[in-house]
């Protein structure tokens, strides 16, 4: 029996208007307290930032077509890869799934009318906009050439506009904290009657684990950036060796946030993939509790491992030993997830629609990304590979191949629910295939480049690396084309009549039990839950 036992038949209720029609005019968007409108506004700006970050990436790859100057000089190149890093990390990938899909879908999956603190949710969006404005101001004011890691003493001695970019990241941190705080409160207080913690969908579990990381890690980024500002303005000397400080201490502060941050990026992707694989295999997830608990496990162990970024940074060998061992522990829950997804597909009835193609793409790419993490967790092999293109390939495999593929999969999966319109299936699947091919062309070659010793953030490189760089650059164009196609596929649906059924994929979770797009109150009457999220 399905999870949702309606009090009265759905059919005879007068269809209340979708949340788009519930209010009109620009004011209904700027002052909205509806989690769905805030989710859509976030989605628009995240996709715009993704386009901007993507343009920077293509410029970086075009410059690297040939050693020496191809289109820009060294200083501009340093600014380009820094902006690519900062825009992609702080403006795109951290808010992408939690702030857009999370805001849209979490209340629906919980059977709630809205998030716990709607005004805080709107404040979080406006803080995100203010942070983005600071980043744009820094962009036009000479940008930053320190890399997205802002390592001292370079970041407090360079004369580029570091202060405005650091303020941007500082402000964006609060937007992330407020989203996390909102989801924790919503998950604890607004679950549908009968929905115990172990009857929640896995997407909600993933967002809950992500919120815990956001709450516990982002404040340390805030204080790190504050200290960096104090370093530049007051010459406090905590991180500046010239004033008696310790540059490696900054790396400890920075990575204590930034490694959990990569789990803020990937764990929501796990949540989306759990939903996709279950729905499109027509089968309850294999090992529900294992996957739910592994999200929490990754969230906690993710805090213990940051030192593997500093094996060759002058960190003591004993600390390196501790961090190397703990980094292997975090591999276990991640492996459990991938194995459980594969086991879910066993004896299922797999419907190969675009979201499922993105989920399968995720499985391929994330497994490669995760396994190459073995080289970097093992202290010995990391010595040769650290700060080379091997690391660049590793984190693009897990971030781009992982989170962005999951994000696109989730976007296609919930597009009918959000916009009430179905996208074109062939165009969607083709876009996924092009992106998949482009991705592998771009980043598989970078594994080889890195192993051969090609350092990262190099404007000018030795001639023998040129063929691989050229191939990787061409691959990046194909990847860009793939994402462009998926943009055309999705945005194209906005110009046609809303034709999406309420439950196009026969999903079992609560969001599919209401209209597409849902009314302002999400559900005509409060759904009650009396079974697991995926029981058919």
């Amino acid at each position: 029996m399905t999870q949702y036992s309606p009090k009265s038949a759905q059919g005879d209720r007068p269809a209340s208007p979708s949340f788009y029609k519930a209010a009109r005019g620009i004011g209904s968007w700027l002052y909205t307290l509806d989690h769905k409108r805030i989710g859509i506004m976030y989605l628009v700006f995240v996709l715009a930032a993704f386009l901007l970050g993507g343009v920077f990436a293509l410029l970086v790859r075009t410059e690297l077509l040939t050693p020496g100057k191809t289109i820009v000089d060294a200083n501009t190149y340093n600014r380009l890869f820094t902006l690519h890093g900062v825009v992609m990390v702080f403006l795109v990938i951290i808010p992408s799934i939690p702030a857009s899909l999370g805001n849209l879908i979490l209340p629906l999956q919980l059977g709630a009318k809205d998030v716990a603190f709607p005004r805080l949710n709107l404040a979080s969006f406006y803080i995100y906009l203010i942070g983005a404005c600071f980043a744009l101001y820094s962009l036009v004011n000479g940008a930053v050439d320190t890399g997205w890691t802002f390592y001292t003493p370079y970041s407090n001695t360079t004369d580029t506009s570091v202060i405005s970019m650091v303020l941007a990241a500082f402000i964006l941190g609060f937007s992330s904290i407020f989203t996390g705080l909102n989801f924790i409160a919503t998950t604890h207080s607004l679950r549908a009657p009968g929905m115990t913690f172990f009857r929640m969908p896995l997407f909600v579990w993933a967002l809950y684990a992500t919120s815990v990381i956001q709450i516990l890690a982002t404040p340390v980024l805030a204080i790190t950036l504050l200290l960096l500002l104090a370093e530049r303005v007051l010459k406090v000397g905590i991180f500046d060796p010239a004033m008696g400080g310790d540059a490696v201490l900054f790396q400890h502060f920075f990575w204590f946030y930034s490694h959990p941050a990569v789990y803020i990026m990937i764990v929501p992707g796990f949540g989306v993939v759990s939903e996709l694989i279950t729905t499109f295999s027509r089968k309850p997830i294999f090992g529900y509790r294992a996957i739910a608990m592994s999200s929490i496990g990754i969230a906690i162990i993710g805090f213990l491992v940051w030192g593997h970024h500093m094996f060759t940074a002058g960190q003591s060998e004993i600390a390196g030993m501790i961090f190397s061992f703990l980094t292997f522990l975090v591999a276990i829950p991640t492996a459990i997830k991938v194995l459980n997804w594969t086991a879910t597909m066993y004896r299922g009835s797999i419907v190969l629609r675009t979201p499922m193609w993105y989920a399968i793409g995720f499985l391929y790419l994330f497994t490669v990304g995760g396994l190459t993490g073995m080289y970097l967790a093992t202290a010995g092999t990391d010595v040769h590979l650290h700060d080379t293109y091997f690391v660049v390939a590793h984190f693009h495999f897990v971030m781009m191949g992982g989170t962005m593929f999951a994000f696109l999969g989730g976007l296609h999966y919930w597009w009918p629910k959000i916009t009430g319109r179905m996208y074109n299936e062939t165009l969607g699947s083709f876009a996924c295939l092009v992106a998949f091919i482009g991705f592998n062309m771009t980043f598989l070659t970078q594994f080889v480049l890195g192993a051969q010793g090609m350092p990262r953030r190099y404007y000018n490189y030795l001639d023998q690396f040129q063929p691989l760089h050229a191939f990787s650059s061409v691959g990046s164009y194909v990847l860009g084309l793939g994402f462009l196609l998926s943009a055309v596929c999705l945005l194209g649906t906005l110009f046609k009549k809303s034709d999406a059924p309420d439950n196009p994929w026969e999903g079992t979770t609560l969001e599919w039990q209401t209209a597409s797009p849902p009314p302002l109150e999400n559900f005509h009457d409060q759904p009650a839950v009396n079974a697991g999220p995926y029981d058919r």
Partner: protein, 321 residues
Amino acid sequence: MMDQSTSTLTMLPTQASTIAPGYDLLFWVITYMCVFFFVLIIGAGTYFVFKYRYRGGEHRVDTNHTHNTTLEIAWSVVPLFLCIGLFAWGFKLYLDFAIPPKDAIEIRVTGQKWAWNFEYDNGAASAKEFAVPLNKPVKLIMTSRDVLHSFFVPSFRTKMDVVPGRYTTMWFQATQVGPQQVFCTEYCGTSHSDMLAKVLVLPEKEYEDWLEKHRDDPNATPADKGKKIFNGKGGCNACHAVAADQAIPVIGPKLWQLFGRAEKMADGAQLTVDENYIRESIEYPNKQTVAGFAAGAMPTFKGVLSDKEISDLIAYLKTLK
């Protein structure tokens, strides 16, 4: 430029140090393990996708296997043991990198914005390249004069960051004669990608000759000593060209026909070059910057070069016509 044979097929550069074979063994063991698990997991996934593909009609689904405790325990414990094994082997290799043999020759390496300088115990000094004896352990004691850098020799598989205000060490024992490429792998600004150097691995005899050549002999004229400082300890050749036919480096102003030349400053002031101006530019480079050059690019040499060494440098600069 790089003379190791690194064809795109072999992933790793040539093995030019004693630790490289051990490193490559662990690298390939991890690679085969990853390929095995990738084929196992993704192979199973791909097989399931095609075998259980929905071919229309009614969904035939087996919904009673939603968890299998023994299988789940197995695929948690087995990776755990593999991880512990990898950790142990990896950390042993890490300690091999970290602990140099007692009899290693010590060379002091100093990184500064975009050049490496090397100093030997017998006073020999050089910039951009330095000699090491074949089949003998060498320990580098490294520091930086301004920002973070990192000393990376791919063919030795060794890398260690160079932190200002502190010493970090690295050791290797070269097993292959010939120059080995050195990269800087910690981002350090504009010419981070040009901050290269060469390790000249020489047999014993040639290594001794090289040292002699780079040692400052007592009866050298101040200009000769200045030239050795210019190309050695000072590392000035990394940024300043000394002859008309030298196209690069162009980071700093050109230094031939220097004395008596009228220089236009960045702030528009006009001054003729004399000894005080040169001494001041060496000790406080950011006080005056020549028009068209990046301010703050040149680190201070106050406290690094003694007054006598600076006067030798000036003597050498005077000889440049």
